[in-house]
Structures are given as structure tokens and as C-alpha cells.
């Protein structure tokens, strides 16, 4: 654990207790079983807003507390532990980061206060295929008069069904594969021409497929610079990758604790199974992955706060290392629980399913290995 300020410690403790008490995995399970259209509980979200979490990254002038990414990561980690469903990550981290990094004053004034008070849910609509490939963006925005007309498809949009606004990456010039020619647009979810379809993902969260048919937006909808949206998009994505890595660290750490607990209580062959060296050594290896992942995630969160120049490297590093830990851990969670691990009644399956969705979000390990190599110049 990083050395925290008094305020950070307070928030971390508050988040830990609140998530365990008010938004535990059992309430996520209940929501899933209710087959409700809702992907998160409104009371969960309004409690988060009341605690100030939705504005943790936002400057005070817009009603936020500007406490930084490390603090935000501490909360996301605790939510990851309990699989707490909420738009906190999508809107208050990704959406808010995009507006803070690329938005002009009018755009910030229009949206940041609503992100903070929870009335706006602003999410990124980027991926178009089954892969995270920002540069392959094909969705087009044609200039028409002083506005734009957007056509194309987006998929795997987090909080896509509940969002009030999409931040859409669309091509204003060049062709799929070019980093140049991509622009970002703020598009209200209710805009005419948008069709959204819920994706029934394994983790029972809110993901949507979007189809844009001649969706008209004004010139003022452009977020950041026209045609040259990629650099700032990468910055937003880096913050997203680091934030999601914090959530993944929590999910995997909880799986580790559940497994360790089982190793100490389940008896077979007249002994607790944790006394079998084959299992003890795996636990040791997983512990090592956990500690190394934590080092990477914390370093990455701190680097964003410090505006360090190696944020991109650390983002890929954190996503990759914690990805490896979560992958191994979610599999061992099932395996070490034996037959119990296979039952839906036990939580292991919920963690495994969420793990794979998190892995695919904002670039999987293969993507980030490749990117890391690029960043290191080979």
C-alpha cells in the first residue's frame, strides 16, 4: 500500500466499509437475479454521489473535490473487490477525464457539474469491432454546414444503456488505420439517429452496441481539436486503463482472499488443503503477482497525479501486470474451490466472468505488450 495522506486513508477506509456494507457482491447478485433492466442500483449511485465520489477528479469550481487519481483508484479498488456495479468508472473517471483534458470552458461548464451531481452519465464510445483498436476507427463524421453528421457503429460501450452522453471517436479525415483524422464528439444519448442495443455480457453489466445513422451534432460538439483527437484520446485512454487496473486489482485481491480463506478451512485427507504444498506454492506465486501488480497500479496512479512523462508506459504496464494476476487468480479461484467453485450459488463464477470482461476492456494483455514494445522503441 502506498503511503497515503490522512484524507486518502479516510476515503479508503470509508470506501472499504461502505462497499462491504452497502454494496456487497450479494446485492450485485440480487440485481442480476432480478433480471432487471437496470445494470446498477440507483440508490448505490446516489450514495456514491452523496459521498462525493462522482466529483473526485473534478476541479472545485465545477463542484468536485479534485483529489486526484490515486484517491479515485483507492475507491475503484474497493468497488472491484465487491463487484459493485456503478457508472463511477465510466463517467466520473473516463468521461470527466476527457472533458478535463480536452474540453473547452463551455463544454466543461455544461457537463462537469452534472457529472458531479450524478445527473449526467458521460461514457466513451470507441471500440467498433471485437478488438480495442483506436486507430482503426471507421465511424465517420461528415462536416455539414457548421455541424457534423455522424454515421457508423460502436460496440462494447460501458454504461451504454444508461448513459446520457457519449464521447464518440469518429473519423473526420483519413482512413481506418491512420492515427490522424480522428476527432471526438460529445453526443447526447437521445440524439436522433442513435439506436442502442443492450449486450448480454457474461458479467451482467451495462454494455451496449450503438448504431449511428446520420446523427446531427453542432460544431460545438467537437471535443478537443478537429482531426487531431488521437493524442488527447490516448491520454484519456491511459487514465481509463490505469483506473480499470485499480478496479481489477481489487477484484483479483478479493478472489485471493476468498481462496486463502478456503485453503485454511477446507479439509480433505484429514488436513486443511492449504497444507498441501502444491496448493501452498500456488498461493505464494499468486501473492507475488498481487504485490507486483499493486506496485504497478499505484505507481501508475501516482504518475498521473504527478503529470509524469511516462504515464503511457505505466498504463500499459499496470493493465498488463494486473491482467496477468487477475487471469491466473480467477482461474485458481475456481480450481482451488473444487466442485463448489463451479456452482452459480458460490461467488467464484461472478468474479471469473467479470475478470474476462475487464481484461478485454481498454486493451487486453496482447494489446498492451505490443504497445509497451512500441513505447520502448522496439
Amino acid at each position: 500500500m502506498a503511503v497515503l495522506t490522512e484524507e486518502q486513508t479516510l476515503i479508503k477506509d470509508q470506501a472499504t466499509a461502505w462497499a462491504k456494507d452497502k454494496a456487497p457482491v450479494s446485492s450485485f447478485r440480487a440485481l442480476r437475479d432480478s433480471k432487471s433492466e437496470q445494470a446498477f442500483l440507483p440508490e448505490t449511485w446516489s450514495a456514491m454521489v452523496d459521498m462525493g465520489w462522482s466529483g473526485i477528479l473534478v476541479p472545485e469550481q465545477y463542484g468536485g473535490s479534485d483529489l486526484g487519481y490515486l484517491t479515485c483508484g483507492l475507491i475503484l479498488e474497493q468497488l472491484g473487490r465487491q463487484l459493485t456495479a456503478s457508472p463511477l468508472f465510466s463517467s466520473s473517471l473516463v468521461g470527466a477525464s476527457a472533458l478535463m483534458l480536452a474540453g473547452n470552458t463551455a463544454q466543461q461548464e455544461a457537463l462537469l457539474p452534472s457529472i458531479v451531481n450524478g445527473s449526467a452519465l458521460v461514457t466513451l464510445a470507441l471500440d467498433e469491432s471485437s478488438r480495442h483498436q483506436p486507430e482503426q476507427t471507421a465511424c465517420r463524421a461528415e462536416q455539414t454546414g457548421d455541424g457534423f453528421c455522424i454515421s457508423g457503429k460502436k460496440t462494447f460501450v460501458a454504461e451504454g444503456m444508461s448513459a446520457t452522453h457519449y464521447l464518440v471517436a469518429a473519423r473526420t479525415s483519413e482512413n481506418p488505420g491512420d492515427a490522424q483524422g480522428i476527432s471526438l464528439f460529445i453526443v447526447p444519448a437521445q440524439a436522433e439517429g442513435i439506436e442502442r442495443t443492450a449486450l448480454p455480457t457474461i458479467d451482467s453489466r451495462d454494455y451496449a452496441k450503438l448504431s449511428f445513422t446520420d446523427v446531427r451534432v453542432e460544431g460545438t460538439a467537437v471535443l478537443g481539436s478537429l482531426d487531431d483527437g488521437m493524442p488527447v484520446l490516448e491520454k484519456v485512454l491511459d487514465r481509463a486503463r490505469i483506473g480499470i487496473a485499480a478496479e481489477m486489482l481489487g477484484t483479483a485481491s478479493q478472489a485471493f482472499d476468498m481462496t486463502l480463506d478456503y485453503l485454511k478451512t477446507r479439509e480433505q485427507f484429514g488436513k486443511v488443503i492449504g497444507s498441501f504444498q502444491a496448493l501452498g506454492h500456488r498461493a505464494a506465486a499468486l501473492f507475488s503477482l498481487q504485490e507486483q501488480s499493486r506496485s504497478c497500479v499505484e505507481a501508475a496512479l501516482q504518475a498521473v497525479d504527478a503529470e509524469a512523462d511516462n504515464v503511457s508506459e505505466l498504463a500499459s504496464l499496470a493493465k498488463c501486470q494486473v491482467g496477468k494476476f487477475l487471469f491466473e487468480m480467477s482461474n485458481e479461484l475456481i480450481q482451488i474451490h473444487g466442485g463448489i467453485g463451479m456452482t452459480d450459488e458460490f461467488d467464484a463464477g461472478l468474479y471469473l466472468k467479470r475478470a474476462r470482461v475487464l481484461e478485454a476492456s481498454f486493451g487486453n494483455r496482447a494489446y498492451h505488450r505490443h504497445r509497451y514494445a512500441n513505447l520502448m522503441g522496439f
Partner: protein, 400 residues
């Protein structure tokens, strides 16, 4: 720590590092590669460092150190590395500066400290450690070499093995049984004795890397002074536990003694070639290389996190630190395997000539590096320690 300190250290190194020493190599066992001129330069460098107390910079001045803080000592070692050189003293002192010395500082009497520490700190007295025996490896507490007190003298009998540098050392720290009736760990003591005596015979053992850095060591009525018992009689187990902690620490902190300061990816580019866009043509190697570099970064960030946390008084530090011996091993051995593979058939040479010095050195280092997962608590023993002491899982093996 002041910026002035950094500057004055940097200046001192610039003024005192003998010319012709930059880039010269000293092996883990204190052997200088090069001609007489290089050897003389290293000796001059040793004398100058010793006079500064920089052989063991954190030790008190009265024992040959410089009384520096850990942070200051790091400044010194960084300045030396930055100047392209090595501090030869820790290597020349064998197990002295890194292991026996720090333990002596904690457990030794003032007389013992005054007698033994200055020789280590100056690099003039080399120490070896006689712990392992043919039947006591990971299970060190089952050791059999005995010592009995005969008035003013301990008399030792038995055999040690894998004693690094035994044939080149002047002194030995030996773990011996002093009470056969007590439980395994309770009848052990730690003695210090001179190697140059009729009761000791050493036989070098050749290793797969081609060196003979260690020996079988035979004690036949070998003698140690009564007052060279370190710590209490029959309490050698606490002494050795502390000493092994120092060993682990020195292993995880020490930069790998590598000739190629060149980043791994640059070596790969040289051997494997790049496409027009600068990426490695061998995409499989590229991917594994990225993986390795990320594992390395994760290990280094963990060390950094532990250091910051320790300064902040965080108690979870020791749990995290327990992973470092194995992660350091993974990184070092992984790096060697990749280097060898990158060099292809050029990475398979035993003698220089048809192969460059860099290539044969890589081969030797790869072979020598296999020991990292064996000594200092093997890879498996480290996992036992983590699962039992850190995670609280029940004992997986018999007491050992």
C-alpha cells in the same frame, strides 16, 4: 540529504577513480579480469575507497566505515556506477561486508567488532561461510559438524560443502553443533576461525560455468579462539537467521553484475534486425521481450514501493519484501535466457576467439545464474516461507 553531499561525492569519485579502470570488470568472487596494469589500478582504487570508509559506508568510522545513512551510501554507490566503475571491496571481502559484518555489528562484542570489521571494510580480509554440508542443504539445521570447547579453544570436526571462496579466504564463519542432546535448532553455534591452519583442508569444486568458486571444506581438529563465538553458545540459529536476512537483502538489492549495460532491446535489435518502422523483425521475441521488461519493471517498482513504505512506517512492508528473492531470480534468469536466445548460435560459445567477449560472458553468466534459485533459500523454500510465514498456511513439510 543535501545536494552538496551528492556533488562532493561525485567530485571525489571523478578525482580519485584511477584512469584505465572505467569499464574494467571484477567478478562476483573478486577476480579482476585484465592485465597487471588494470589489477594495480583496482588495488589503488581499493585503497582510496577504504581510506574514505566507503568499503562499508554505513558502518561506524571506528570500524572502518564512514557512518553514512543508507540513503547516503546509495549516493556513493550510484556515483561509482555512474562513473562506469565498481566498488571492489564488497567482492574482495567475500561474505564479509555483505553478511558476516552486518551480523557482527548486531551480535558482536566490542572486541570482536574492533578485531574483525576493519579488515572487511578495507577489503583486505576475505571471509567465507561454512554453513552447508553434504546432508544439510535447505534443511540447514540438520548440520553435523561439531565443535567442543577445550579450555580456551574450540575444536571443530566435520565437513562443509559449497563453501564459496574457501580456498581464497583468510577467515570463515562456521555454523557448528555444540549440543547434540538439544533439539535440532537449539544446539547450534556460530564460530569465527582462521582458514590458514593445519586442521582445515579445502578442495575446489568446478561448476558448470567453468569457475571453481567454491570448495568442500574439511575440519579435522580445526581450532577457533574461545572468544570468537558470535552470539550466545547454542543460540547460533538466531545469528544465522539474521545473517541469511542480510544475504537475501544483498541479493535483491545488488544490481546484477552484468557486462551489458546496454538495454536488452538494443541487443535484440543488433542481433535480430528491425523492420523499417523500427520494430523487431522477430515478433515472437518482441512480445516475450516486452513481457520480460514489464516483469522487470514490476519487480523494480516493488522495491521502490517497499522503500517508500518503510520510510512511511508502513508495517505491511515485510510481507511484500518476502517476494523479492524469487522475483529478482525470475528477472535475472529470464534476462539471461533471453540474451542467449537473442544471440542465437553466437550465444553458445565457451571460449572467446570465434565469439566475442560479450558473448562468452553472457554464456557464463547464464550458467552461473542458475545458482540464484538454489542458494540463499531455494526458490521452493522461498515459496514455503511465503505460504507459511506470510500467508499463514499450515506447515507443508517436516520441521526444517
Amino acid at each position: 540529504m543535501t545536494e552538496d553531499f551528492k556533488i562532493s561525492v561525485g567530485d571525489w569519485v571523478a578525482d580519485n577513480l584511477p584512469k584505465g579502470l572505467v569499464g574494467a570488470h571484477i567478478s562476483m568472487y573478486g577476480v579482476v579480469s585484465g592485465d597487471q596494469e588494470v589489477k594495480d589500478a583496482f588495488e589503488l582504487w581499493r585503497q582510496r575507497l577504504a581510506a574514505q570508509g566507503w568499503g562499508a559506508p554505513t558502518w561506524p568510522r571506528e570500524y572502518g566505515g564512514a557512518g553514512l545513512t543508507d540513503a547516503q551510501a546509495k549516493v556513493v554507490s550510484r556515483a561509482i556506477t555512474k562513473a562506469g566503475s565498481t566498488n571492489p571491496i564488497p567482492y574482495l571481502a567475500g561474505m564479509g561486508v555483505t553478511m558476516v559484518g552486518p551480523t557482527l555489528l548486531e551480535y558482536g562484542t566490542p572486541e570482536q567488532k574492533a578485531r574483525h570489521l576493519p579488515g572487511m571494510a578495507s577489503g583486505e580480509v576475505r571471509w567465507c561461510l561454512g554453513l552447508s554440508e553434504p546432508n544439510a542443504g535447505s534443511d540447514l539445521a540438520s548440520l553435523n559438524t561439531s565443535a567442543e570447547l577445550d579450555e580456551e579453544t574450540w575444536v571443530l570436526n566435520g565437513q562443509k560443502t559449497w563453501t564459496s571462496g574457501a580456498d581464497k579466504s583468510q577467515w570463515c564463519g562456521a555454523l557448528v553443533r555444540t549440543d547434540r542432546s538439544a533439539a535440532k535448532r537449539n544446539g547450534i553455534s556460530f564460530l569465527m576461525l582462521e582458514m590458514d591452519q593445519p586442521g582445515i583442508e579445502t578442495r575446489p569444486i568446478s561448476l558448470i560455468a567453468g569457475e571453481s568458486p567454491f570448495c568442500e571444506t574439511f575440519f579435522t581438529n580445526a581450532q577457533a579462539r574461545k572468544d570468537d563465538l558470535l552470539g550466545q553458545m547454542n543460540d547460533g540459529w538466531s545469528v544465522i537467521k539474521r545473517l541469511l536476512q542480510h544475504e537475501r537483502q544483498s541479493q535483491t538489492n545488488a544490481p546484477a553484475p552484468s557486462t551489458t549495460a546496454e538495454p536488452l532491446q538494443d541487443v535484440a535489435k543488433r542481433y535480430l534486425g528491425t523492420s523499417a518502422d523500427g520494430t523487431l523483425t522477430d515478433s515472437d521475441m518482441r512480445s516475450r521481450l516486452a513481457d520480460h521488461l514489464m516483469d522487470t519493471a514490476a519487480h523494480e517498482l516493488t522495491i521502490a514501493r517497499i522503500m517508500t513504505d518503510a520510510r512511511g512506517g508502513n508495517v505491511e512492508v515485510s510481507a511484500t519484501a518476502s517476494i523479492l528473492k524469487n522475483s529478482a531470480t525470475d528477472v535475472a534468469q529470464g534476462r539471461s535466457e533471453l540474451l542467449l536466445e537473442i544471440m542465437g548460435s553466437q550465444g553458445l560459445g565457451w571460449e572467446p576467439g570465434e565469439y566475442s567477449g560479450e558473448e562468452t560472458h553472457t554464456v557464463r553468466e547464464w550458467l552461473g545464474g542458475k545458482a540464484m534459485s538454489i542458494y540463499g533459500g531455494s526458490y521452493e523454500v522461498q515459496k514455503n516461507i511465503i505460504s507459511k510465514n506470510i500467508l499463514g498456511l499450515p506447515e507443508t513439510t517436516q520441521k526444517g
